[in-house]
């Protein structure tokens, strides 16, 4: 595997093997000194044309725990504002010697375009409404490891609630979870559902209350306030009335269900309950697992040898 651009580039075997490598990385993260020399001498450039804090920090932490050197580029403080094209940016950084680019952009397809301008590996850290493959992998890792029943998700019912139409997380996570056998139901007003749900191998409903008791995973999406301006929902109160996780709805979650959210949360909007008060919440577990999964991706693209040797070798 040279790049990680889309979950659609991953077979089920690829997904499972990344999850298994992540187990070794999680073990490394448990150590008093959570660092191994696996990517010593490799340079990883995180190139974020769109603001992000958590994904960037997660990737950079993952790279540092593998001893890679990290180069950081952010659009707000860079030549992008002086009119430099993405191509020139990538070619310039590439000329400095980069082994992998971690790319985020507000437009779908940019990480794919980047692959034609550099010989380095490219990891998609989120492009437009399109894909966010490491988020999908960390979600799958979280669900499978919390369920402790291997990588298979047959019979697992997942409800993804919120602005599915504009969500790269929903697109990627739905695909990875269904690849592992889960059943995904998208829950949103029709205006916030993709125009072809079947293209995402999922079913859809506009009735949150109908699914909440019957899901094994409740996955809440961030509701962006600017959606109100485009006649997608009448107003925020009506949206919350139908689709927010209220304390009453949280009560109806099955005891063994998992509550997840890709962050950042909109408290008082889609999250009207404090997740710290919900025993089923795994929202911070997702964040912790994100490091291990991104280490697994970086190691799989740039490393050599097997991950199991890596974790044994340093004990």
């Amino acid at each position: 595997m040279k790049h990680l651009l889309s979950t659609h580039d991953l077979s089920r075997t690829d997904i499972e093997s990344l999850l298994n490598v992540a187990d070794h990385m999680a073990e490394i993260n448990q150590r008093p000194v959570p660092k191994v020399p696996a990517l010593r001498g490799k340079t990883v450039a995180s190139v974020f044309f769109e603001d992000s804090t958590r994904t960037r920090l997660s990737f950079e932490t993952a790279a540092k725990r593998l001893s890679a050197d990290v180069m950081t580029f952010s659009a707000s403080s860079s030549s992008v504002n002086k009119g430099e094209s993405i191509r020139d940016t990538i070619e310039t950084l590439s000329a400095m010697g980069v082994d992998a680019f971690i790319v985020r952009h507000r437009s779908s397809g940019v990480p794919l375009a980047v692959t034609s301008w550099t010989s380095a590996s490219v990891i998609n850290a989120g492009d437009g409404w399109h894909q966010h493959p490491t988020q999908a992998l960390l979600d799958a890792y979280t669900i499978t490891r919390e369920r402790k029943a291997g990588n298979d998700l047959h019979g697992v019912r997942v409800a993804i609630v919120g602005d599915v139409k504009h969500s790269r997380v929903a697109r990627s996570t739905t695909h990875v979870l269904t690849s592992l056998g889960a059943t995904v139901t998208l829950v949103a007003p029709s205006t916030l559902l993709p125009n072809d749900v079947t293209a995402q191998a999922a079913t859809a409903t506009t009735n949150f209350d109908e699914v909440i008791e019957h899901c094994d995973v409740l996955y809440m999406l961030r509701m962006q306030k600017e959606r109100m301006d485009h006649a997608l929902v009448p107003d925020i109160a009506e949206y919350c009335d139908r689709f927010a996780l209220t304390p009453a709805r949280a009560q109806r979650l099955a005891p063994g269900a998992l509550l997840m959210h890709p962050g950042p949360m909109n408290r008082g909007v889609e999250m009207q309950v404090d997740p710290n008060d919900v025993a089923q919440s795994r929202i911070l577990t997702q964040v912790t697992n994100g490091i291990a999964v991104r280490m697994a991706v970086l190691f799989s693209l740039l490393g050599s040898g097997s991950a199991s040797n890596l974790s044994k070798g340093n004990e």
Partner: protein, 443 residues
């Protein structure tokens, strides 16, 4: 006029002058629905003889080829004035000549827009200076193509403009469109609409369907085109003024125009080679070369467009030749400008995907567009004595591979690079002058 020069230098088509007698030999003349093997002799810019065994100063070999009136493109973006880094009137005219065109209608979305006599005169004269084909500037429907105030139709018509459009934008305001048609009615001009209800296409990148859903980009629904086609057909019914529909793309639009023609309304329609040959799935690799407005649709839409061509609902193939500099086409799909080159590949691509008869070629590429453009007195004429010598020599059978490096436009944004196509333009004669010889531009 039958004197033969013995000078070998003069036999070189590159060295010919207008007053010499040129004979197109051995081709099959396609004219007025008939095909016949005949030589065509040209002198002083007009056809002087059609027959067999004709002699002249210069022989233009047309064996195995068809000889017809030159092509007319209803929809060319020449970019000058304003965007000369993408195309100039001269480079676009050269591409046109290589595509067999002897006349193009220049779209008005220049900078400044073609909404005044000064700008259209500039475009026309620059075209004359290039001397590769006739450049007929279109005029704007509204000042600056802003959809607010009508352009001076009568003044522009007096300076020779026949086709008016805000192409690139549809005229959104139904009241303004009604007034435009009423005002145009007795001026002997035609309004041409780019059908797109812009509120339904904000931010849109490609056809709204399964592909755009999968790719996570904003979609351009078929409805946005069909609503305006419907509105404007009803405005034509109300006002009686003629209207031409630019670059139709959907099955629904074809059906609306078919019914309007059955009702006897004065409407015409065009389709582009790319909407007949490419679909939304071509965008799965996020390549902005396939981004175009209106967008590439589906196989079902192509089938409906082909049927529309077959039954005469669609009158003309028009290129929507839209050059864009490389660096702009390397932007992300959502930011890259829409449009693709078309002039040099139009005949071959259309023939490759739908298969054309020689007479169909002449109707779709020459006679009908000349009539719609209001230039039927000069272009799309029969191959007959006394007619202007605007002639294309082409075939529908030779195969070749399209290369972006063969594009003579200032830009290289063809979506067909590497595609094997059937059909070619061999020679183009414009006003008696050989502007393309054996597929090479002569000036």
């Amino acid at each position: 006029m039958t004197t033969r020069s013995t000078s070998t230098a003069n036999k070189d088509p590159k060295k010919h002058t207008k007053s010499q007698r040129t004979v197109i030999t051995g081709g099959t003349v396609v004219s007025q629905g008939k095909e016949s093997v005949a030589d065509v002799a040209i002198a002083d810019g007009v056809i002087v003889e059609v027959g067999s065994g004709l002699q002249g100063d210069i022989a233009l070999d047309a064996k195995g080829c068809y000889v017809s009136s030159g092509f007319v493109d209803l929809h060319t973006h020449l970019r000058e004035p304003g965007r000369e880094e993408a195309e100039t009137i001269e480079t676009g005219s050269r591409a046109a000549a290589l595509g067999g065109y002897t006349a193009v209608v220049a779209m008005p979305n220049t900078d400044p827009a073609q909404d005044s006599v000064a700008v259209v005169e500039f475009v026309r004269r620059t075209g004359q200076r290039a001397g590769l084909c006739d450049v007929f500037p279109s005029g704007c429907i509204t000042i600056g193509r802003l959809g607010e105030q009508l352009a001076p139709f009568a003044q522009l018509a007096k300076s020779g403009v026949h086709l008016f459009t805000d192409d690139g934008n549809g005229v959104q305001d139904p009241l303004l469109m009604r007034r435009a048609l009423e005002y145009a009615r007795d001026l002997n001009i035609v309004l041409a609409q780019h059908c797109e209800v812009s509120r339904l296409t904000e931010g849109a990148v490609m056809h709204e369907g399964a592909c755009c859903s999968h790719m996570g980009v904003p979609g351009w629904p078929a409805l946005a085109e069909e609503l305006m086609v419907y509105r404007d057909i009803e405005l034509v019914r109300l006002t009686g003024a003629p209207m031409h529909f630019l670059h139709l793309t959907t099955a629904g639009s074809v059906e609306l125009v078919r019914q309007a023609k059955r009702d006897g309304l004065p409407v015409t329609a065009e389709v582009t080679p790319h909407h007949l040959s490419l679909i939304d799935e071509n965008l799965l690799g996020f390549d902005p070369l396939f981004k175009v407005n209106p967008p590439l649709r589906t196989k079902d839409d192509i089938a409906a467009l082909v049927e529309g061509v077959r039954d005469g609902t669609i009158d003309a193939v028009a290129t929507d030749h839209a050059p864009h500099a490389d660096h702009t086409k390397q932007m992300p799909l959502e930011q890259a400008p829409p449009g693709m080159l078309g002039l040099q590949t139009a005949l071959a691509v259309t023939n490759t995907v739908i298969g054309l008869s020689p007479t169909q070629v002449v109707e779709l590429f020459s006679v009908n567009p000349a009539r719609i453009a209001g230039i039927a007195d000069q272009h799309g004429r029969p191959i007959a004595v006394g007619e202007p010598a605007h002639i294309a020599v082409w075939d529908l059978s030779s195969t070749s591979e399209v290369s972006r490096n063969d594009m003579v436009s200032k830009s290289r944004n063809t979506p067909y690079h590497g595609m094997t196509v059937k059909g070619r333009i061999r020679h183009t004669v414009f006003g008696g002058e050989i502007v393309v010889h054996e597929g090479k531009a002569q000036k």
